[in-house]
């Protein structure tokens, strides 16, 4: 915990669907304990949850890193999955490559990436097909 920043690291499994959402739930609980304003918590929780679900559904797992300093929550979501061929398309509202099977589970509405951008104060996505995807975002309060 050097430099006063608090860091959390989560490995997100791509095979256990029932665990999807646990990392974002834990971050939310920690932020509450820290006394972060509820609006910021809510925005971070929504963005992280969407990112976490994408790791499970699209990337076969990955990692979430969060660091928190007073006034800002920085989040990094990285994976070594298939990557995204057309980022602009993936970022558009309603676009999803999800299978019908996943859609039947209630996922795959194509709002994940757009919402991650919408609810955060900064958002950056890098992706290379065959290599993986890396998203960094932050919520300020």
């Amino acid at each position: 915990m050097a430099g006063g920043a608090i860091r959390f690291h989560y490995d997100v499994s791509g095979s256990e669907f029932s665990l999807a959402g646990t990392a974002s739930a834990d971050v939310k609980a920690q932020l509450k304990k820290m006394g972060v304003p509820s609006d910021a918590i809510r925005r971070a929780a929504i963005a992280l949850y969407e990112g976490e679900i994408n790791l499970v559904i699209h990337a076969g797992g990955g990692a979430i890193d969060v660091d928190m300093a007073p006034g800002v929550i920085n989040m990094a979501i990285t994976d070594e999955g298939p990557g995204i061929p057309d980022i602009d398309l993936a970022m558009s509202e309603g676009y999803s490559s999800a299978s019908d099977e996943v859609r039947n589970l209630g996922f795959g509405a194509g709002m994940g990436l757009p919402n991650m951008k919408k609810y955060t104060d900064s958002f950056d996505i890098q992706s290379q097909v065959g290599k993986g995807t890396s998203i960094t975002m932050s919520v300020r309060y």
Binding site: I6, K28, K33, G35, S38, I46, Y49, P70, N115
Partner: protein, 441 residues
């Protein structure tokens, strides 16, 4: 610090400090200190989980005794719909209404009638532009307190109205004043409560300036007398006189989980959850926007809804069956929402965030203490054994940060210290030609 009124209390003489309750409390409000399970008042939501779990009946609920009737010149009983489900074969509520009068009340206003008004007002509200979706029911005070403590981001979603009990109290008072000509303070509107949460809320309503219900007696306490009177009455012919229009199926349905949301007719986009664990699960998910398109959420802290309150007498599942049998015979809806009631229902309710779960007094202190907490936690065994009197090692670390506990309260740490001391002692005595701790001399 301001001491809050709570109906849930500890009977110190009965408590054996077994720590069964501390882990069950949804807000981490219980600590065993000096062998007794004290409740941290600021955090308690009166959900009664500790009453349910305590094997020694040491956690109890306060409520008014029937003597409260003597304080008033005219009294009105406010029976909740779940009360009808406490009796066998009750196909006609008239006998219960007459029973309440025989027990000592002058009049009766059924809370189910008020609930039916609120269902009507909710339907109007759901179609208005002011609704923040999903709208969250405010009928269970334990849930409202939980939201104020742990989910402040959802406060704007709470239904901005009186609860059925409160509305019944207000309307009954007004009607009784008209009927008797007495001043309002001489009339007592007394709720027959299924749970401690409503006893507390009637005493100190959440977000309202004044209390509107004059007292709360427990179902389980009034039950024997009521049953006796009802048996003595035997049967009643025709409609009996009561202050309110009798309720229909909609109002009666509020007695169990799912009744309030079913009364919205127009939307299938609702959800009803009951039992505090399930309620927390749903609130967590709504907070993270996990359900898209959800419009109404009904939450009850008790399993099964109000039929599952700890002050009830009947098994909640049997009670549900009885309630459904009674409701089946009634028309769907009997009240008509007029301008007068509308004006009473829609109140200015200011539920505000309660920072009792925070570590410190301001953002900076919260942050610093959070870092300290993580450091302390790293040095604790992490087995959540509860022997220190806190529900988890994390809660214990929080107590240390707040200066309310010391590391040595941890039995594991204490044992390590003892072993070190013993080792040091024996090493010293072996050097001097004495025995070691295994008695080798």
């Amino acid at each position: 610090m301001e001491t809050l009124f709570h109906s849930v209390i500890l009977d110190k003489d009965r408590c054996v400090g077994c720590i069964n309750c501390i882990k069950r409390c949804p807000t981490g409000a219980i600590r065993v200190r000096d062998g007794k399970a004290n409740i941290i008042s600021e955090r308690c939501i009166d959900c009664a989980e500790c009453i349910r779990i305590c094997p020694h009946k040491a956690k109890q609920s306060r409520y008014d005794s029937l003597d409260i009737l003597k304080k008033f010149d005219y009294t009105v009983a406010l029976p909740p719909p779940s009360l009808y489900a406490q009796f066998n074969n009750i196909t006609d509520k008239s006998i219960l209404i007459e029973g309440l009068k025989a027990v000592g009340f002058d009049d009766v206003y059924e809370v189910a009638t008020a609930a039916e008004y609120i269902s009507a007002a909710t339907r109007v509200f759901m179609n208005s532009t002011g609704a923040e979706f999903p709208v969250i029911s405010n009928a269970c005070p334990a849930v409202v307190r939980l939201i104020a403590l742990r989910y402040p981001g959802l406060i704007p979603n709470l239904l901005p109205m009186l609860t059925p009990v409160e509305l019944a109290g207000k309307l009954a008072k007004k009607l009784a004043v008209e009927k008797t000509g007495l001043p309002p303070e001489r009339i007592g509107c007394i709720f027959i409560s299924p749970c401690p949460a409503k006893v507390t809320a009637n005493h100190s309503p959440i977000g309202l300036e004044h209390r509107v219900v004059d007292g709360s007696v427990a179902v389980k306490e009034i039950y024997p007398a009521l049953l006796r009177e009802m048996s003595a009455i035997g049967s009643v012919s025709g409609e009996v006189s009561a202050l309110a229009v009798p309720p229909g199926r909609v109002g009666i349905g509020w007695g169990e989980s799912g009744g309030e949301s079913a009364a919205l007719f127009s939307t299938e986009k609702y959800l009803a959850a009951d039992g505090i664990e399930n309620v927390i699960g749903v609130l967590e998910d709504i907070e993270s926007k996990r359900y898209r398109g959800l419009e109404f959420v009904e939450l009850n802290a008790c399993p099964g809804g109000c039929v599952g309150g700890v002050l009830q007498v009947e098994n909640p599942y049997i009670a549900k069956a009885k309630l459904n049998r009674l409701a089946k015979r009634l028309p769907e809806n009997r009240v008509r929402l007029d301008a007068e009631v509308t004006a009473v229902v829609n109140v200015e309710r200011t539920v505000s965030y309660d920072p009792a779960m925070e570590l410190g007094g301001n953002a900076q202190e919260n942050y610093e203490r959070y870092i300290q907490l993580q450091e302390i936690l790293a040095g604790l065994p992490g087995i959540d054994c509860g022997s220190c009197g806190a529900p988890t090692c994390e809660a214990f670390a929080e107590d240390i940060v707040k200066g309310k506990a010391i590391r040595e309260n941890c039995v594991v740490i204490m044992r390590e210290k003892m072993e070190q001391m013993l080792d040091a002692f024996y090493n010293h005595s072996v050097e001097k030609g004495g025995c070691d701790k295994n008695d080798n001399c």
